[in-house]
Amino acid sequence: MSGAVVGSIDAQTVVDAVGLGAVYALMAVGIGLVFGVLRLVNFAYGQIVMAGAYALAFTSQAGWPTWAGIAMCVVVTVAVSTVMDRLVFRPLRTQSPAVMLVTTFAVAFLLQNVALLIDVHDDTIGEPAASVASLNRAVTVWGVEIRKVTIVAVVVAVVSLGLLALLLTRTRIGLQMRAAATDFGTARLLGVRANTVIGAAVLLSALLAAAVAVILTVQNPLVSPDFALKDTIIVLVGVVVGGIDRLWTAMLGGFAIGFVTGVINGALPTDKTVFLPSVVFALVIVVLLIRPSGLFARGRTGLVERL
């Protein structure tokens, strides 16, 4: 692609687009899980991913084995998410969604600046994470070059979303989470513990953030404070386009915007890729004008009614 003047949609582009869609689907579910129980759109989700990516970078520089780096990445995303829940979300739970959204903006910028302070210790911005870079090598399948990370992204997405579906449908906590996402007040009246359900959603969302951090770090091994920021904005838009009030519509929205971004990126001539966000967001506006409650939502949702 790099030498092409005019882009085209070929098998390579589609495979890369599916890989991007898979990562964005994971992020969408991570955001959707917390939204389900807290009605909170967590703009700071990208900074949880960023913190995990820094864990990968620092452990890589310290010479830790890859598995230990990934384990530390999980520990960091879970720790940051839990602290965020306890210190920020919990005291604001009864506030309006607008207050909570604005607060997550503040948290996002705070975390970004904390990362900047840590990152500049060596007088440069950006930390390389070399240990996971081997996943970026390509293998050739039926004449199509597929980067290992694309395969990993799709497999991780399918496996984690499958496990999540099992957890939500087959376990007691899963049932409680689904009930809480529909009507938290009634769920609590039945004895469903708010803190347990929210804690579970935050934990699962953090685990997904760790998976996303690993995949994005492979694709872009130089971790900086704005790591995953652009992706979060695109995924948030995708989640709204898909339908934020349901997990599966949010997931489809995340996948769709990742896939479409990947395809348009491949289709645009190389010198025109600067217009990628404009094309994607123009499409988003058209979709929202036609289906304001979400591309995959059934009819009008309570959210639209409330607005």
Binding site: L175, G191, V192
Partner: protein, 242 residues
């Protein structure tokens, strides 16, 4: 019934006051329910009946006074903590989870159980009381009729094994035949010795059914009625309109 009225106190409201903004919904309410009793709470719309139940469950904050369950104050506690202390609410409008199956709705009720033991027996008891809940177990709860949903809502509260069952207008919006089913179920619940506080709009039927019925208006108790007063419509109408 005389033995019930001398049993230990399960629920005690002491000078309970609840305000919504500038409006006082419940004013200094005193009320006592003893073990095994069925106590009715009737009154016009806006009398404060549902608010009283929500205050007991911790779903609205109490301005003044106290709520005691089995002698212990539950004021200020979270709804889930109160549910787990042996109080179950069948909310107004049933509030079943329409997109979950009937069985999943029932299993949610288990969240309020104080003990993991006896779960199967509790579920079987509900199936015995409401065969429709077993029959339509795999169906989406939203696909049930209003009467069936009400049976599910009562069953969901019962599987928690509550010591005190609060019912908020269980016959609301139901056909007369279905109302009979609900009251038959309440009679069976009474036989099982579960203490009940029943909020209803069907005044005469409630007064005849309950051991004792309080008529509320404007946030206060205006009248206390026994089953023999069920035909004293004049007193009730007077209290409703006062």
């Amino acid at each position: 019934m005389s033995d019930a009225s001398s049993g230990p106190t399960v629920l005690e409201l002491e000078h309970l006051t609840v305000r919504y903004g500038g409006v006082t919904a419940v004013r200094g309410l005193d009320l006592e329910v003893r073990r095994g009793e069925i106590v009715g709470l009737i009154g016009p719309n806006g009398a404060g009946k549902s608010t009283t139940l929500h205050a007991i469950m911790g779903a609205v904050s109490v301005e003044a006074g106290d709520v005691r369950v089995a002698g212990r104050s539950v004021r200020g506690r979270a709804p889930e903590a109160i549910a787990r202390s042996g109080v179950a609410l069948v909310p107004e409008g049933r509030r079943i989870f329409a997109e979950l199956t009937v069985e999943e709705n029932l299993r949610l009720g288990l969240s309020g159980r104080r003990s993991r033991e006896g779960v199967e027996e509790a579920v079987e008891e509900v199936y015995g009381l409401f065969p429709v809940v077993r029959e339509f177990g795999r169906r989406q709860a939203g696909a049930l009729s209003g009467g069936q949903q009400q049976q599910l809502a009562i069953g969901r509260a019962l599987v928690a094994g509550p010591e005190l069952l609060l019912l908020d207008e269980p016959s609301l919006g139901l056909a007369p035949r279905v109302v009979d089913v609900v009251f038959d179920a309440l009679a069976e619940i009474r036989r099982r010795g579960i203490t009940v506080l029943l909020v209803e709009q069907r005044a005469q039927r409630t007064v005849a059914f309950a051991d004792r019925t309080y008529l509320m208006a404007n946030g206060e108790i205006r009248l206390t009625l026994g089953p023999d007063d069920a035909n004293d419509t004049e007193a009730m109408v007077h209290a409703y309109l006062s």
